[in-house]
């Protein structure tokens, strides 16, 4: 079995590489959107006086995450079709992954932005910062590590969910798996699964580095002193 897998990989590396590239593209596209939406929405709902709204948004995002991906694709296909948009292929998958990726980013952004030590806020306000200045100069920089952690979670999670997108023609590494299932070729299923896992692990490690680098130096653990 291992040898057939290896043989497949050596003979089809170009094809596997292309699928990996498709996979990454879908995940990054979706998470790029999720980050923009999540940050904007997260910052918007973490303003003082919007606690109720924040609860609601987080609740809805949480429910979305419990919808099985295949069902969500189905629902989105119907909606997109009704809207006259492209209803199969990459579009519904990207939209679905964006929705899934939203929760970890939203949740981390709001808890971090709202959970800043009140002494920081008081110091900022007492020195004459406006609420907007406090948001951009204090709250958001202090929330960066948590936001990055949320993004990392979202990306790793979406690598797995994106595999199922091949079922509705979005391409990516899921194709190997679905073809393997259709032709009862376990080696193909395993190659696909292995690549998805390796991709998830690789991205997790790489994003861990990015997360550390993007953390303001004073907030990094293990600063001297």
């Amino acid at each position: 079995m291992l040898s057939t897998m290896l043989r497949y990989l050596t003979t089809h590396w170009e094809y596997v590489g292309q699928l990996t590239a498709e996979h990454i593209r879908i995940v990054f596209l979706a998470n790029g959107l999720a980050v923009v939406l999540g940050l904007a929405l997260g910052i918007f709902i973490s303003k003082r006086g919007r606690e109720g709204l924040a609860e609601l948004v987080l609740y809805v995002a949480g429910i979305l995450l419990t919808v099985p991906s295949l069902a969500l694709y189905g629902i989105l296909m119907a909606i997109l079709k009704a809207l006259g948009l492209m209803s199969i292929g990459i579009v519904p998958v990207v939209v679905a992954l964006t929705l899934y990726g939203l929760l970890p980013i939203l949740r981390n952004t709001t808890t971090a932005v709202r959970g800043i030590d009140p002494a920081m806020i008081e110091a900022g306000r007492g020195m004459g910062m406006s609420e907007t200045q406090i948001l951009w100069r204090v709250r958001i920089p202090l929330a960066v590590p948590a936001i990055m952690a949320g993004l990392r979670q979202a990306i790793v999670m979406n690598v797995g969910i994106a595999a199922i997108g091949a079922y509705i023609g979005a391409g990516g590494l899921g194709q190997l798996i679905f073809r393997g299932i259709a032709n009862t070729r376990a080696d193909l299923v395993l190659v696909g699964a292995l690549c998805v896992s390796l991709l998830a692990i690789g991205l997790d490690v790489a994003l861990g580095v990015v997360e550390r680098l993007s953390t303001p130096r004073g907030l990094r653990k293990g600063v001297r002193g």
Binding site: A119, E122, A123, M127, M129, V138, P216, G218
Partner: protein
């Protein structure tokens, strides 16, 4: 100048935190808000920079009603050091200190020069090293200093400080207080300083405003507060040892007998004996040719042949006082010393004065007399 007139604060829950306070803090004055926990000190302070909106009354800063100013502008003109220090952990020490200058749009070169000046002023040296550090890389005492430096950032005329030397060990705390006093003598800010520590209040304040349950009970200088407590609450708050506290307020310089009579080490014993007879003293200080204090000569040791000089019969001194020493320390030293006289010398150990027990008791008695008089009147 800061002026509070009939200022009241009732929080939304119904707590009356401040109840009709009227208080004037003059230009360059160091006013301490003192009182037990929950008496409304922080609330009073925060109303001055509008972090807490007032319920009624008026506050003016530099003659202008704070309600008529934009809150952010008002705050940028008032230095503010909070109890929790609240340094921004994602910013360097330099960026923290330059917060208000940046808000005011100072140019980079000016900001940088100001940061260096303040680091030097607060003893955070080498300056180049501290500039680049993050709050996590500082000790507690250093963080307090940066907190004070940040409050001084844009050189405001007014400083509001809420227990800025709170959470540090007593020794570092004393040192910070001393340094802050030195700085304050130099920069002469109008300061409102919150503490619940009577010792800190006495040490730092030109005036003390003692509060209780949101009301101002007594507003007076530290010595007035000690000598003439307005009521039992004040008496209880300043403590049973207020005589000793009053001693802390007076320095040796104020009561010492300056330019005391002394004998030289090359004087003859006979001359010393004559001087003792004339002054009716049994001990005299001995100084060298250069005025350096050498020790004492007593009546028992001046009996001897005329050829012997005082220098051969010196009793070494046990203790020395300095002009800036508070009287409580002087008293402690005298109780240890055999002579009941404290020689006072300058940094070069030249004799500049003497404090005798009689002198000390006289000043103590005055404190008592003042107090009796104070308590007798309504």
């Amino acid at each position: 100048m800061i002026e509070l007139r009939d200022v009241t604060k009732v929080f939304p829950g119904g707590t009356q935190a401040v109840d009709g306070i009227t208080l004037v803090v003059h230009e360059g004055e160091f006013c301490v808000l003192l009182g037990p926990s929950g008496c409304g000190k922080t609330t009073t302070l925060k109303m001055i920079n509008r972090l807490v909106p007032l319920t009624s009354g008026t506050i003016t800063v530099g003659g202008r009603d704070i309600q008529k100013l934009r809150a952010t502008e008002l705050r940028r003109r008032i230095g503010y050091a909070i109890q929790e220090i609240g340094l921004f952990p994602h910013m360097t020490v330099a960026q923290n200190i330059a917060t208000v200058p940046r808000l005011l749009g100072w140019r980079k070169a000016k900001r940088r020069a100001r940061v260096r000046e303040l680091l030097g002023l607060l003893g955070l040296t080498p300056v180049d090293e501290f500039l680049r550090r993050y709050p996590a890389e500082l000790s507690g005492g250093q963080r307090q200093r940066v907190g004070v430096a940040r409050a001084l950032g844009a050189d405001p005329a007014i400083l509001l400080m809420d227990e800025p030397f709170g959470a540090i060990d007593p020794i570092t705390r004393e040192r910070l207080q001393d340094e802050f006093l030195r700085i304050q003598r130099e920069i002469r800010k109008t300061v409102v300083f919150v503490t619940h520590d009577i010792h800190e209040a006495i040490k730092l304040g030109d005036k003390i405003a003692l509060m209780k349950e949101g009301r101002l009970i007594q507003h007076a200088t530290p010595s007035q507060l000690l000598a003439q407590p307005a009521d039992d609450f004040v008496r209880g708050f300043v403590g049973t040892d207020r005589t000793l506290k009053a001693l802390r307020l007076t320095s040796v310089r104020e009561i010492m007998d300056s330019g005391p009579l002394s004998v030289r080490d090359d004087d003859s014993l006979a001359a010393a004996r004559r001087a003792m007879d004339r002054l009716e003293r049994s001990f005299l200080p001995v100084v060298g040719e250069d005025g350096l204090f050498l020790g004492w000569v007593g009546r028992n040791s001046v009996l001897g042949p005329p050829s012997v000089c005082v220098g051969d019969r010196i009793t070494p001194y046990a203790v020395l006082g300095s002009p800036d020493m508070p009287l409580n320390e002087a008293l402690a030293l005298m109780l240890e010393s055999a002579t009941g006289n404290l020689p006072v010398t300058d940094e070069d150990r030249r004799l500049v004065g003497l404090v005798s027990f009689d002198r000390l008791f006289e000043s103590l008695r005055q404190i008592y007399v003042e107090r009796e008089a104070g308590e007798g009147s309504p």
